[in-house]
């Protein structure tokens, strides 16, 4: 604590001296008014463009018509006036200041290829992207405008290279996983650090009630329409100054701000239609076997029902938002309110979000600017549980485990729902009963606020202090009325669970930029952070309820509670040099501590170095033909380390005894997990090298990067030999690597004032490998029914299970009864095995397991096209994941004799395969792995700007679609799915999760 205080006081002392110094200078200078107009190629004013008098601290912004004016107190002489604006190339002009007024107009060019982009993430001060030694991705509100995604992370799909963004569930409240350059932990989370306006925002996926594996991730609370800009850095090489939380990269989001001028009002409204994109082919064969005896082929006539027609519906949604922004030179504001309501495609479920946001910026004196932001959100949903990784009461679980020859409709006389499951063997909920009678809800009330103070005491010195707070309460309730068809809650079930999360981060960053000589620029930065978070969760649950009343007090209550607190603190220093505008070098170091780890392992040190060479600024380059061929050419390399202080739970280092009540007495139980005070944070070392260049007279830009991320001290939940008295222990034993390649090409094939076509292609290839798993080299995950594992030498989450015995020609080696069977033999470590055969050529030995599939895509691709012809804008985005597997548990169940609701079972009923084949295949899990490769028409939209007059500044109507088409060979609903929700290790698991709907959107946007 003392250390931080001293640093800051030192900083202020410098500030005081510098301010006095400046004051003494200004007395010699005269006041001059500098003004003009900034227009684009069509003559329209560029709103909000920033104008600065180089090497002074004077400048201003363009107003609604593109006019700017500011006063400067400077000596007469020549000066350079620089215009910068997001989305436009930087323009500069030398002016001569003589009298008391100078007028200078500018026409700026659109920066379609983002060549002059300025970024802040991973650097200490605003830095031109071309000076960076690491790759960085950025997006503007324009890129997200027609995505029509409900959440920010959903809108990122296909937009950036190096990212795999998966929507795990078709519920519109999300369930989205973002992976930047692959996963980087096994027991922790591989989610990037999300920062919104300086606030570290919580993105937990809390399962307060069991919805089958699906969970909302809390980024869904933030309205994507409020976003101005997003910057993304993907690993340690760029993110080392975020230290302990940077292993998975950083996504920094900036929301919209007010601009100088009269109030601008923007209103938008949308109507959406959600539909099931693809139905599973279901069993239509009008006969069923009388029994399961293999030799008895007798059948009886039955009527088959298509349950999907009864479960899915078309869901209508609306979204309305209103924003007002404006301001003066010293005060700026942005206020917005929005309402989203979306019915889901599963009958009886919906999601709504009401959000208010305020952003204020106030200049205090000449040096200080204070910004404050406040965002209040209420997210509500009505849920129908589906999936069934733990609980099996879900609607779609009931659908897949049903005999589809049972009419699921309730008895017209009694209103009682029939059990649709094969009785006495496996009881599952009648899906219509789940939809009609269950009442599951979630509600989140959230406040996110920030206060930022920016002080510029002297030219080049920048002091930023940010306090960010994120506070929410998520409440979930579940009710299943008594006397029902569920497998385990015939007496009824009621649950309420709450989580109250509070996070605060304090960040102080000081940077000083100066020209040490005419060829050497220097930027020095120091910073400190202090972060604290607290989670209090509570749950109460009751079974054996009375006939009426949904709350837990209608039964005997069992309650649970968990409280946790955590502090993370750190400090960093960074130094960059720019040499002759050619070579840029940066070095940085960060120290970090987290209360999660034992005292001896608490403090960690993370260094980074990076460099870039802008070859196109070399004299010979400019003079030779190279300059014509590649007007911009930069090569870059970066190396850095970061950590994952958050990989283990807050109290996981202790051996925690569990409280129980037995016979009216409180007791304590030895835990399954043995504590470990010696566990250290996981550490990632990343190296990346790449190049950024432009061709064809700046009409085409290309960025490519090769990276290698090595994680050592990977924490594994080591399975202990039970003879230790414990089951498991967290221990640093593993390693993980992600090697990959990413590139992005952006081109402007046509660019006239009437017709513009911008096309972007990005490609990412990642190869993940886990090593260091002890024992037999296999660590199965319970979240994937233990059929998913970390296996040495294979990617995280490999499908690891039994497989079919085959003949040399690849056909099934059948049993004497003519049925497929599991391979047998001798099992070795790391998924190896030797096949065994007995005298009859039949499999012998123990049933074998191996890696049968990999849910991690070999490559992620996207292709975005935007064409504007006069007032018409057309946009189309295709993106996809190639070379990955999906574990189709849905089909495995639906194709089986006992349930047999899917088409795959018909072959057995028709006698095309021996009776019992489906049951035999059901037992060979490796047979249910399918290639999931897909390319989707993710976004398509057409907008028209209606010419307006007077008060109405702009009116745009849009028709759009999302997820309209998928090109794939997958037999299930959709290969983009994960029943295990946002689980870090279990991916690509299809077990009756709600499929992603296709969405049609009609919208209107008016600006006043």
């Amino acid at each position: 604590m003392t250390k931080l205080t001293l640093t800051k006081r030192g900083g202020f002392r410098v500030a005081v001296l510098a301010a006095l110094f400046l004051l003494s200078f200004s007395s010699l200078s005269a006041q001059v008014l500098i003004k003009g107009k900034i227009t684009d190629k069509n003559g329209a004013g560029v709103i909000g463009a920033s104008v600065a008098l180089q090497d002074t601290r004077f400048g201003g912004f363009a107003d609604l018509d593109g006019n700017y004016s500011f006063e400067a107190v400077v000596d007469p002489g020549p000066y350079v006036l620089v215009v910068t604006s997001v989305g436009y190339r930087t323009a500069s002009m030398t002016i001569s200041i003589t009298g008391n007024q100078v007028e200078q107009n500018f026409q700026v060019e659109e920066d379609i290829l983002s060549l002059d982009e300025v970024v802040v993430t991973g650097t200490v001060a605003n830095t031109a992207k071309r000076e960076l030694g690491n790759s960085i991705s950025s997006l503007s509100s324009k890129d997200l405008a027609n995505a029509n995604a409900v959440s920010i992370d959903g809108a990122l799909q296909g937009k950036i290279s190096g990212a795999q963004v998966t929507q795990n569930s078709g519920n519109p409240a999300g369930g989205i996983t973002v992976r930047l350059r692959g996963p980087s932990t096994i027991v922790g989370s591989s989610d990037p650090l999300f920062i919104v306006d300086g606030v570290i925002v919580n993105n937990d996926s809390r399962q307060l009630i069991d919805l089958g594996g699906y969970a909302q991730n809390r980024l869904v609370d933030i309205n994507p329409n409020d976003i101005e800009r997003i910057e993304i850095i993907k690993g340690a090489a760029a993110a080392a100054i975020y230290g302990s939380r940077a292993n998975n990269g950083v996504v920094q989001i900036f929301t919209k701000k007010g601009t100088e001028g009269a109030a601008r009002v923007s209103f938008s409204t949308q109507i959406r239609l959600n539909q099931l994109r693809k139905k599973l082919p279901y069993n239509e064969y009008p006969f069923a076997f009388n029994n399961t005896t293999a030799t008895d082929l007798s059948q009886r006539p039955v009527e088959r029902y298509d349950y999907q027609d009864l479960i899915f519906r078309d869901g209508i949604g609306t979204e309305n938002s209103l924003s007002v922004s404006g301001g003066t030179a010293s005060t700026k504001y942005y206020v917005s309110g929005s309402n989203l309501y979306n019915k889901r495609i599963v009958d009886g479920s919906d999601f709504s979000r009401n959000s208010l946001r305020l952003r204020l910026s106030q200049k205090v004196g000449k040096m200080i600017k204070v910004d404050a932001g406040a965002n209040y959100v209420v997210s509500s949903s009505r849920e129908i549980p589906n999936g069934g990784l733990v609980e099996a009461y879900g609607a779609l679980t009931g659908f897949i485990f049903a005999n589809n020859f049972i009419n699921p409709e309730p008895d017209p006389a009694t209103g009682i729902y029939p059990s649709t499951a094969p009785t006495n063997v496996l009881r599952r909920t009648n899906p219509l009963e789940a939809i009609d009678r269950f009442d599951f809800r979630q509600q989140t009330n959230r406040f996110i606020g920030d206060i930022q103070v920016n002080i510029k005491p002297v030219l080049g010195l920048n002091i930023d202090y940010v306090v960010g707070m994120d506070n929410y309460t998520q409440i979930a309730t579940a009710y299943i009325p008594p006397k029902n068809t569920t497998p385990s809650y015939d007496g009824g079930f009621s649950r309420r669970a709450d989580a109250t999360v509070f996070q605060i981060n304090n960040d102080l960053n000081i940077s000083y930029r100066t020209d040490l000589s005419d060829w050497l620029k220097s930027t020095t930065g120091v910073g400190a952070t202090l972060q604290y978070d607290r989670t209090n969760s509570f749950s109460a649950q009751a079974q054996q309820l009375g006939a009426f009343g949904e709350t837990v007090n209608n039964g005997t209550v069992v309650a649970g509670e968990f409280r946790s607190e955590r502090t993370i603190m750190g400090a960093f220093a960074q130094q960059s040099f720019g040499i002759h505008d050619l070579l840029f070098l940066t070095g940085a170091a960060r120290v970090d501590a987290s209360s999660v780890y034992g005292e001896d392992n608490r403090w960690q040190f993370f260094p980074k170095v990076s460099g870039s060479l802008v070859a196109s600024n070399l004299g010979f380059w400019k003079d030779s033909g190279l300059g014509k061929l590649f007007p911009n050419f930069k090569i870059r390399a970066a190396w850095g380390q970061s950590g994952n202080l958050t990989a283990i739970g807050v109290y996981d280092r202790f051996t925690n005894y569990g409280p129980i009540v037995y016979g009216g007495q409180t007791g304590y139980l030895a835990p399954q997990q043995l504590g470990n005070f010696t566990v250290v944070p996981e550490r990632q070392t990343e190296f990346e090298v790449g190049a950024d260049l432009t061709m064809l007279n700046d009409r085409l830009s290309l960025e490519f990067t090769y990276y290698n991320k090595d994680v050592k001290d990977l924490i594994l939940n080591r399975t202990l030999s039970p003879t230790t008295g414990f089951n498991n222990r967290l221990i640093n034993v593993g390693t993980m690597t992600n090697k990959g390649f990413e590139f992005m090409v952006k081109a402007v094939p046509v660019n006239t004032s009437q017709f513009q076509w911008v096309t972007t292609f990005n490609y990412t290839s990642n190869d993940n490998v886990v090593n260091g798993v002890e024992g037999n080299g296999v660590l199965p995950f319970a979240g994937g029914f233990s059929q998913v594992a970390a296996v040495n030498g294979y990617p995280l989450g490999a499908f690891y299970t039994g497989f079919a015995a085959t003949n040399p020609d690849g056909t099934y080696l059948l049993t004497a009864a003519g049925l497929p069977q599991r391979e047998r033999g001798v099992q070795g470590p790391n998924g190896t095995y030797t096949v065994g055969r007995d005298a009859n050529g039949q499999p012998s030995g123990t049933p074998l397991v191996k890696v049968v599939g990999d849910p991690n895509p070999v490559s992620v691709v996207a292709w975005v096209n935007e064409v504007s012809i006069n007032k018409l804008t057309f946009r189309m985005q295709w993106d996809g994941m190639l070379g990955f597997d999906v574990f189709n548990f849905t089909k495995r169940v639906g194709d089986r004799d006992l349930y047999g609701g899917l088409k795959g079972y018909e072959a057995e009923l028709k006698g095309e395969v021996p009776k019992g084949t489906s049951a035999a295949l059901f037992g060979i899990l490796g047979e249910w792995i399918e290639d999931g490769s897909f390319i989707k028409l993710r976004e398509i939209s057409v907008s028209y700007d209606i010419p307006t007059k007077g008060l109405l500044r702009g009116l745009r109507i849009t028709a759009a679609g999302r997820n309209l088409l998928s090109i794939d060979n997958y037999s299930g609903f959709d290969p983009e799915v994960n029943a295990a929700g946002q689980d870090n290790a279990v991916r690509g698991f299809d077990f009756v999760e709600v499929p992603i709907p296709r969405m049609f959107i009609l919208g209107m946007n008016a600006n006043f």
């Binding site: 029994n291 399961t292 040096m367 002080i455 209360s595 016979g663 007791g667 030999s721 003879t723």
Partner: protein
């Protein structure tokens, strides 16, 4: 400048919010608290009893019950299918086989912690020490007996470093009998304290008779019929010992037969009709009639 100074206090207001790096876990005690205190010894005894009666006992009844063909697996979970198939179709890594092993050693680990720490922690309270030690000896013996029911070889002592040494089944049972003999001797020399009896033993549990009943059972399993008979004769037939169950500590048989429904009793508990006693009390105990069909068979 003045403005900067005005903002100064605001900076530090937030910075002092917390610099704490050592938080105490408010949710549960650590081993350091439990194994070094008198309350820890008593409450861990309660926890061990709860864990044996709700978790370990259930696994012993239905896993070994199914492999010995008294019960049958009726669901389609792979592990249950494998148990039901038995023989070579039952791999070593079957989840239920693993769980039986794991749960017995969890109980054994707690019993050993009590046996190791109680003499020091409860040195000044011999009556409570006697109860805690005898009780821990009984539960370790039951864990060993449970292992002897399911496995041919097993370690008779846990080892936190993971290097436990395997012993043959007979040696395990011999150790169980030794522990039970020691438990009976402890009770004979120092009767447990009233507090121990109230808090740990509770109503409807006769510790000495339970110890003697298990002495009889394990001696019988070892073929030591005379010792078994002698121990059986020491059991007080006028008392009844039972575990108590509640919704928080549910009866594992209730859970299995009525909630999870993975197993069901086999017709006549797998006995030929000629050997089956129609008045077998276990039928009512299992709360279910064996009317499930698996693979076309009852």
């Amino acid at each position: 400048m003045k403005t900067i100074i005005k903002f100064l206090p605001f900076f530090f207001l937030f910075l002092v919010s917390s610099c704490e790096l050592e938080y105490v876990n408010p949710n549960a005690p650590s081993d350091a608290q439990v194994l070094s205190t008198r309350e820890g010894m008593i409450t861990l005894s309660i926890g061990m009893k709860q864990n044996y009666s709700t978790a370990a006992l259930g696994e012993l009844i239905y896993t070994t019950g199914a492999t010995s063909r008294e019960l049958k697996g009726v669901t389609t979970f792979t592990s249950v299918l494998e148990i039901e198939a038995g023989g070579t179709a039952l791999p070593t890594f079957n989840g239920n086989i693993f769980r039986l092993w794991q749960r017995m050693y969890r109980v054994m680990g707690m019993a050993e912690d009590l046996i190791e720490n109680a003499p020091t922690v409860l040195a000044s309270d011999p009556a409570t020490l006697s109860g805690v030690m005898a009780h821990a000896h009984l539960f370790k013996a039951m864990a060993l007996g449970g292992l002897a029911t399911g496995y041919e070889q097993f370690p008779i002592q846990t080892d936190v470093s993971g290097k436990a040494v395997f012993s043959p089944r007979a040696q395990g049972l011999t150790e169980a009998v030794r522990l039970l003999d020691a438990a009976a001797a402890l009770l004979a020399s120092t009767p447990p304290s009233a507090e121990f009896n109230t808090r740990v033993i509770g109503a409807n549990f006769d510790l000495l008779s339970t110890i003697n009943a298990y002495r009889a059972r394990y001696n019988l399993m070892l073929g030591k019929n005379a010792e078994a008979l002698a121990a059986a004769n020491l059991v007080n037939l006028n008392t009844k010992s039972q575990f108590v169950y509640s919704s928080q500590s549910p009866n594992p048989i209730y859970q299995e037969m009525l909630v999870s429904k993975n197993y069901s009793p086999r017709e006549n508990f797998g006995l030929p009709a000629s050997l089956f006693d129609a008045a077998d009390g276990r039928l009512g105990f299992f709360l279910s009639r064996p009317d499930s069909t698996v693979g076309g068979k009852h």
